[in-house]
C-alpha cells in the first residue's frame, strides 16, 4: 500500500465515510459500544488507574529528558546479548538497512508482525520493489494487505471491513481453495487465514516485528499481541529484525511493567494482551529454537527534532488508540480520511510533522477541541493544545485560506472597537432578523451554506442584549 499522503483530501475522504452506512454502523459498534465501554470496564478493575497515569506520564517525561543516555545503555545491552543495533535518521535509511539485512539473508519472503513504523517508512513497497515478498501476519493487516488498503485504526486496522468483504477477499486471493466453500461465519474465515499463514510463518526467511517498549537495563525489546503472530514472526525465521523508534525506551523492567498495566487496559479493556513477549539478543548457544541473528533498527525520523519543540509531549504516546476511540470526529470519519498512517487526535499531531503542515493542515483543523482525547490519554498528553499549536503554524503560513483570514481580521477589528461593533452589529442583526420574517430559523441563508446544509440556523431573537440593556430592559 502506497504511503503517499492524502491528507489534503480529508474533506472528500470524510464525506465518503459519512455516506457509507455500513461503515457508520461498524464505527458505532467498534467505538461507542466497543472500545469505549471496554476501557471503562478495564479501568474499573484497577482502582489505582489514575495514579498509574501520573506515574506513566512522569516516567515518560524522565526518559525524554535523558533519552540519549538510555539509548546508549540500551544499545550496549543489546550488543552484549548478541544483537546488532542499527541507527536510521529517516525513512530512507531505515528501508536501506532492512533491505540490506534481507538481501544478506537471501530472503525471498519476510513475515511481518504489526508495525506502525513499517507503515511510516513505507517498508512493504520497498521490499516488493526489490523482489522480496512481505507477508502481513496480524489478521487485520493481512486482510488489508490482500485488499491493498491502508489501515483505518492503529490497533484494529481492518475494523472498517465487514465479514462479507473479508470472505470476498479470501475467495479472490486464496485461489487454490474451492471457490464455493462456505465462508459465512467468522470462525471459518479465521481458520482459513490461520491455515494460509502457517506455512508462510514457517518458511519465512526473515521476520520483522515492531517493538512497543525497549528496556535499557537489559537490552530487551518487547511486543504486544493477542494473536501470537508477532511471536511466530520473531521466533521462527533465522533472522529477526525489530523495527522501532527512539522514544520507546524505558529504564528498567519495572518501568515497562508500569506501562503494560495501562496499555491493554486502556486500548481494549483487557488486563493484558494475550502475549507480551520480551526478546533479548539472539538465540543462546544452548537454545533449541530462536533466531540466529537479531537486529534492532532504531528510527529517528524527526523525533529528535520533536523533542526540542512545542510538540514534545506527543513523544509520550504509547500507541494505545484511546484518543482515536473517543474522538467524535474520527467516530464519524474513520481512519482513511486522515490520509496517512496515523489517524485521529494523535495522528493529527504527528502527521504534519512527517508529511509537512502544507499537506496535512486539515488534520489539526478537524477537531472540535472537545478534549475527550486528553481526558482518556493514559500518559496525559495535552492533545488539543498540540493541535492548536499546529493551527498557529498553519495560520502563520497562510494555509487557512484568505476568506477565513479576512473574516477573522474583520471580526477582530470590529470587536476591538466596541462602539463601531455595536453600530455594525445592531444593523446586521436587524437585517438578519428582517430576513427571517418571524420564522425561528433559516433553512437557507446566503453565505451560511455550510451550516444550513445539515441543520437550520436559528434566527436572532431580536435587538441585541447591549442595546436593550442600555434602554433599561432588565
Amino acid at each position: 500500500m502506497s504511503q503517499d499522503p492524502q491528507c489534503h483530501d480529508f474533506q472528500r475522504g470524510a464525506k465518503k465515510a459519512l455516506d457509507d452506512e455500513r461503515l457508520q454502523t461498524l464505527l458505532d459498534r467498534t467505538l461507542e459500544n466497543g472500545f469505549q465501554k471496554k476501557r471503562l470496564q478495564g479501568m474499573s478493575r484497577l482502582p489505582e488507574y489514575e495514579q498509574l497515569r501520573d506515574k506513566a506520564r512522569d516516567l515518560k517525561n524522565h526518559v525524554l529528558d535523558h533519552l540519549d543516555m538510555y539509548l546508549t545503555r540500551f544499545e550496549a545491552e543489546v550488543t552484549r546479548a548478541g544483537g546488532q543495533v542499527h541507527w536510521a535518521r529517516d525513512a530512507a535509511e531505515a528501508r536501506k538497512i532492512i533491505l540490506d539485512i534481507c538481501l544478506q539473508a537471501d530472503a525471498k519472503t519476510v513475515s511481518k508482525g504489526k508495525s506502525m513504523i513499517a507503515e511510516e517508512i513505507g517498508l512493504n513497497d520497498h521490499l516488493e520493489a526489490n523482489g522480496i515478498a512481505p507477508i502481513e501476519t496480524d489478521l487485520g493487516e493481512y486482510i488489508i494487505q490482500l485488499r491493498d488498503e491502508p489501515p483505518s485504526h492503529i490497533i484494529a486496522p481492518a475494523f472498517h471491513i465487514s465479514k462479507e468483504q473479508v470472505a470476498e477477499t479470501f475467495v479472490e486471493s486464496h485461489t487454490h481453495l474451492d471457490p464455493n466453500r462456505d465462508l459465512s461465519e467468522p470462525t471459518t474465515l479465521l481458520n482459513e487465514a490461520r491455515g494460509e499463514l502457517r506455512e508462510k510463518f514457517i518458511n519465512a526467511d526473515v521476520g520483522i516485528t515492531g517493538a512497543n517498549i525497549l528496556v535499557a537495563e537489559t537490552g530487551t525489546a518487547m511486543i504486544v499481541t493477542n494473536e501470537g503472530n508477532g511471536d511466530l514472526t520473531q521466533d521462527l525465521p533465522p533472522v529477526h529484525i525489530a523495527l522501532t523508534s527512539i522514544e520507546k525506551v524505558v529504564p528498567t523492567l519495572e518501568d515497562a511493567t508500569l506501562i503494560l498495566r495501562l496499555l491493554a487496559r486502556t486500548a481494549t479493556g483487557q488486563e493484558q494482551s494475550v502475549y507480551n513477549t520480551f526478546f533479548t539478543g539472539a538465540k543462546r548457544p544452548n537454545d533449541i529454537d530462536g533466531p540466529d541473528e537479531y537486529h534492532v533498527v532504531l528510527l529517528d525520523n524527526g523525533r529528535s527534532e520533536l523533542l526540542g519543540s512545542e510538540f514534545r509531549d506527543i513523544l509520550r504516546c504509547i500507541r494505545c488508540g484511546a484518543c482515536i476511540n473517543h474522538c467524535p470526529v474520527y467516530g464519524v470519519t474513520s481512519g482513511h480520511a486522515y490520509g496517512w498512517v496515523y489517524p485521529g487526535p494523535m495522528g493529527s499531531v504527528l502527521t504534519p510533522h512527517f508529511v509537512g503542515i502544507e499537506e496535512a493542515h486539515l488534520l489539526p483543523g478537524a477537531s472540535t477541541f472537545c478534549g475527550r482525547c486528553e481526558e482518556v490519554c493514559p500518559v496525559r498528553i495535552p492533545l488539543p493544545q498540540l493541535l492548536r499549536n499546529w493551527r498557529v503554524r498553519a495560520f502563520e503560513k497562510g494555509l487557512a485560506g484568505r476568506m477565513q483570514r479576512l473574516g477573522l481580521g474583520v471580526w477582530a477589528a470590529l470587536a476591538r472597537r466596541p462602539r463601531l461593533y455595536r453600530l455594525v452589529m445592531n444593523l446586521a442583526i436587524a437585517a438578519l432578523g428582517g430576513l427571517a420574517r418571524g420564522k425561528g430559523s433559516f433553512t437557507r441563508l446566503l453565505g451560511a451554506g455550510g451550516w444550513t446544509k445539515a441543520r437550520d440556523l436559528p434566527a436572532p431573537q431580536g435587538g441585541t442584549f447591549q442595546s436593550r440593556y442600555r434602554k433599561g430592559e432588565r
Binding site: Q11, T368, R391, P418, A454, R455, D456, P458, P460, Y469
Partner: protein
C-alpha cells in the same frame, strides 16, 4: 456562604457575543438569577468577544488583542460571571497561556482567570443559590458542553440548580458527555462532519423523550436546535439560565414566534 451582612459581591457580567447578538434573553436571565442570589451586577459596555474563534484558528495576534480588551474591560470587578462554559474556559485557561511570554499581561490574565466563573458554577457554589423560584411542570434533558465540562468541571452544578425547580423531571441523555459537533468555526469549516456528529447527538436527545433540551452554551444549543428543527422534532431548546429564570414562555432557540 452568603451572609446577608456581608456586602454583595460586585460582579461583572460577560454576556458573550452569541448571547448579545443572537439571544439576549440569556443575558437577562443571568442578570435575574444573579440578582436573586444576592450579587450586584454591572454589564460593562466595552465588552464584545472573548477571542476564542481567533484563538482556535491559530490567529494568536488577534486572540491576544481581544483578550487584552476583555481583561481591561473587567479589571475592576470582584468577580466576572459568564453564561457559557467555552467563553469562561477561554478566559480561565487560555488567557494566561496567550501571555506566556509577557510577564505583565500574564499577571493580569491570571488575576482575571482567578475571578472568572461560569454562571451555574457561580450560582451553585459561590452564591449557594438553593431557591431559584423556578417552576417547570415538565421534563428536561441536559447536554454537558465540552469546554465547561472538561476545562471547568461543570457537571454537578447545573443539575444541582435543576433539582431546585418545582415540578421538573430531569432525564439524563445517553452519552451526555459526547460532543455535539459545534466546535465553534469547526461547524462551518467541516460542515459535513459537524452535521454527522450533531445528528448522533440529536438521536440521543430525541430518545430522552423530554419536553426541553437545556445546556450552558449557546453555540452548542444553536447547533443542536438547528438539527432538531431540521428533523421536525418538537423538543424545545433553551439555555439553562432561561429555565431557571422562568423565561421559557417565549420562543425557544430556533422556534417560530407563533409556535
Amino acid at each position: 456562604m452568603t451572609d446577608r451582612n456581608l456586602p454583595k459581591p460586585h460582579v461583572g457580567l460577560f454576556v458573550t457575543c452569541l448571547a448579545d447578538l443572537m439571544r439576549p434573553s440569556v443575558g437577562f436571565a443571568a442578570l435575574r438569577l444573579l440578582a436573586r442570589a444576592g450579587a450586584e451586577v454591572v454589564v460593562p459596555d466595552s465588552q464584545t468577544c472573548c477571542g476564542q474563534p481567533a484563538y482556535n484558528s491559530g490567529d494568536t495576534k488577534n486572540a491576544r488583542a481581544l483578550a487584552k480588551a476583555v481583561i481591561e474591560a473587567f479589571a475592576d470587578f470582584q468577580h466576572v460571571v459568564v453564561p457559557s462554559g467555552s467563553c469562561a474556559g477561554q478566559i480561565v485557561h487560555h488567557y494566561p497561556k496567550l501571555f506566556a511570554d509577557d510577564d505583565a499581561w500574564r499577571a493580569k490574565a491570571e488575576d482575571m482567570a482567578a475571578r472568572t466563573f461560569e454562571l451555574t458554577t457561580y450560582l451553585a457554589e459561590h452564591l449557594d443559590l438553593n431557591d431559584t423560584g423556578a417552576v417547570f411542570d415538565g421534563s428536561v434533558t441536559y447536554h454537558d458542553s465540552c469546554a465547561g465540562l472538561r476545562e471547568l468541571g461543570v457537571k454537578k452544578q447545573p443539575r444541582h440548580l435543576l433539582a431546585t425547580v418545582d415540578g421538573l423531571t430531569l432525564n439524563e441523555l445517553e452519552e451526555t458527555e459526547a460532543c455535539c459537533g459545534f466546535g465553534g468555526l469547526f461547524s462551518i469549516k467541516y460542515p459535513d462532519v459537524s452535521g454527522a456528529i450533531v445528528d448522533k447527538k440529536a438521536d440521543r436527545v430525541v430518545a430522552a423523550k423530554s419536553d426541553l433540551l437545556l445546556g450552558g452554551d449557546l453555540g452548542c444549543l444553536m447547533n443542536m436546535a438547528g438539527k432538531l428543527k431540521r428533523r421536525g422534532s418538537n423538543v424545545r431548546v433553551f439555555h439553562i439560565a432561561e429555565l431557571l429564570a422562568n423565561m421559557t414562555d417565549g420562543p425557544a432557540i430556533g422556534e417560530d414566534r407563533d409556535a
